[in-house]
């Protein structure tokens, strides 16, 4: 490295500053970019590796670091996953979670598409304020709301029912999706709608045949985002659901699988792995939409 700097500085004395010449040299790149990047990736992924490897380790290996290398499995086993699938109601929890996630995503997509269309396209007096109000709703965290919401849910007779979660999750999904879709509708040329209006289409026809088909990427981003957020939600599901069968995966693993003083780490990690997989797979199919929705929402 000193070489390259020396060389470049002799050249650079006459013209450019040495910094620009040394910038792309290999060793420097390695030290400044690849090494820290490698550390970041290692640390960010290690808990998942640890989760995966624990869920396939037999109990004897889990508790014995002296005779086995803890970073590898010498005799992998499916016992933990079998236990999870056949001795607990894990499939039931997965089904409930899936139902809640799909239900609340659908509900909030419908509500936020209509709201975003009204705010962005049917411009009326005060529409920016409605938009701002919906944005502010996003800043109200669930931790403040769960106690009064619990009493509201009881009043509606929805306590211990997944329907309560389907109705409550849109409170944090709708603001986000609306904001995302307003940005998306903005990018669709208004002239297309004017043409349709001139041709005698009604407003609803315009929404259904012109705006929505053009906004499909935005709808997909909003849908993925809502699905992951509702899959991962914890505090409402913990507060509103009591019976074991109706719990969602994150709550059930923490409250039903953690029993007694000796934790069954194998089964716990297998449950976490299986609970994370659907979101991870879903995410990997739509990474680009996901990243663009995340960054788009921040830019808005």
């Amino acid at each position: 490295m000193t070489d390259t700097v020396a060389q470049s500085s002799t050249v650079a004395d006459a013209k450019a500053p040495p910094d620009t010449m040394a910038w792309d040299s290999g060793l420097r790149r390695l030290m400044m970019i690849y090494l820290p990047l490698g550390c970041f990736v290692l640390i960010l992924l290690f808990p998942f590796y640890w989760m995966a490897i624990t869920s396939f380790k037999p109990n004897a290996e889990l508790m014995n670091y002296k005779d086995n290398n803890p970073f590898w499995i010498s005799s992998p086993t499916l016992a933990h996953i079998k236990h999870l699938l056949f001795n607990t109601s894990y499939p039931q929890w997965l089904k409930t979670t899936m139902m809640v996630a799909i239900g609340s995503t659908t509900l909030s997509l419908i509500a936020s598409t209509l709201a975003a269309y009204a705010i962005e396209r049917l411009r009326f007096r005060g529409s920016p304020y409605v938009g701002l109000g919906i944005y502010l709703a996003y800043l109200v965290p669930p931790s403040i709301l769960f106690i009064p919401l619990a009493t509201v849910v009881v009043q509606f007779g929805l306590f211990d029912s997944p329907l309560a979660l389907i109705l409550v999750y849109p409170t944090f999904l709708v603001p986000f999706c609306t904001w995302l879709l307003i940005g998306y509708f903005k990018s669709i040329p208004y002239e297309l709608e004017e043409c349709a209006l001139v041709d005698g289409a009604t407003r609803l026809q315009i929404l259904r045949r012109i705006t929505l088909p053009l906004a499909v990427p935005g709808l997909i981003s909003a849908g993925i985002f809502s699905f992951t957020l509702s899959w991962n939600e914890f505090i409402y599901a913990l507060a509103f659901i009591q019976s074991g069968a109706n719990k969602t995966v994150p709550v059930a693993i923490l409250t039903e699988l953690v029993t007694g003083d000796v934790y069954q780490w194998g089964a716990l990690m297998a449950g976490s792995l299986l609970g994370s997989l659907p979101v991870a797979i879903f995410y990997s199919l739509f990474v680009d939409y996901y990243v663009s929705s995340l960054t788009g929402a921040v830019k808005e």
């Binding site: 508790m63 009204a118 990690m269 990474v287």
Partner: protein, 318 residues
């Protein structure tokens, strides 16, 4: 093309149908479009928010309607060492975790802004900690922090021989507090990094070229170009991060449940413990309401961040 096919359809359907005409009436249509979103938000967000503030002034418990007791709940909280402890740890947790997330996240964003092979794959991998349900990754951290079989202890004691005994991560207050903060930073880095990366990519390269021609060093380019250009987006992302770190619940509930000896309670977990698990709805609501001043402060911060952004870009930017 779709427009031409549409016109014939539309003409065919143009009958003096009152429903069609009603839906073409703009005020009615606006009301119909806004109804689902505003309905959901007002029933499940605005009403509970008001109800929560009301509950904080009553002595409601589960199964019994409370009566108005004025400021009694808050007076009690002010004399409660556990509440003060939770306030202290919430502020401490938010401050340290936000600082860590932004320092490391900004660094990661700067690294990801370079050109190298498999860039989009790497960007996808980096987001993983943020996608996966927090409780489930928290369980992995719980296992990593196990007193006997912690993999970190194994590395430090048996492989590197830096320490002579296992680290007791969650058994005593201060190590437990820092362990939770580390888990929170781990979870928050991806969001910060990817959001800031989006901001970095909007900075025009010509600014850097101009600075390099003027002889600016790498540090000067960062200090006088990258940082000021990133200020608006930093302000927004930081507000979000502060709000959701301050009101965090999942990590603490999953890993320590507020223990050991209540030293790691955040306001949210304390509210849950008193309000839902203990049944004292009024007191729990008062603890939750006591978070609001901090959140208002953070939102104002966001507002001025946004306002400054508008001002930097000129008025007509919408």
């Amino acid at each position: 093309m779709s427009v031409t096919t549409l016109s014939s359809h539309a003409l065919a359907q143009r009958q003096p149908n009152w429903i069609v005409r009603l839906f073409d009436c703009k005020p009615f249509l606006i009301a119909m479009c806004l109804a689902p979103a505003l309905g959901l938000l007002s029933v499940f967000l605005t009403y509970p928010l008001g109800l929560g503030i009301w509950l904080a002034f009553t002595d409601t418990t589960i199964g019994r309607r409370g009566i108005f007791v004025g400021l009694e709940n808050f007076q009690y909280l002010l004399t409660d060492p556990l509440w003060w402890n939770a306030v202290f740890y919430s502020v401490f947790y938010t401050a340290i975790a936000t600082f860590g997330k932004f320092a490391l996240g900004f660094w990661l964003a700067l690294l990801l802004n370079n050109h190298f092979p498999f860039k989009s794959l790497l960007r996808a991998i980096v987001l993983l900690p943020w996608i996966v349900p927090t409780v489930l990754s928290a369980l992995a951290f719980w296992w990593i922090y196990d007193p006997q079989f912690s993999i970190i202890s194994y590395l430090l004691v048996d492989v590197l021989h830096w320490k002579s005994s296992n680290i007791d991560f969650l058994g005593s207050p201060w190590p437990a507090r820092f362990s939770l903060i580390a888990a929170n930073i781990w979870r928050g880095i991806p969001f910060v990094a990817i959001s800031l990366l989006a901001g970095l990519q909007t900075i025009s390269p010509s600014l850097y070229e101009a600075a390099m021609l003027d002889g600016a060093s790498a540090w000067q380019r960062f200090r006088y170009i990258t940082f000021p250009m990133m200020m608006p987006i930093l302000a927004i992302v930081m507000t979000f991060s502060i709000i959701f770190t301050f009101t965090d619940f999942q990590l603490v509930y999953a890993i320590t449940r507020g223990g050991p000896v209540n030293s790691t309670h955040l306001l949210a977990t304390l509210a849950f413990q008193r309000g839902i698990a203990g049944g004292e709805l009024g007191e729990g609501a008062a603890i939750a309401v006591s978070m609001i001043p901090f959140l208002v402060f953070a939102t104002l911060f966001s507002y001025f961040g946004l306002a400054r952004r508008k001002w930097q870009q000129g008025e007509a930017n919408d």
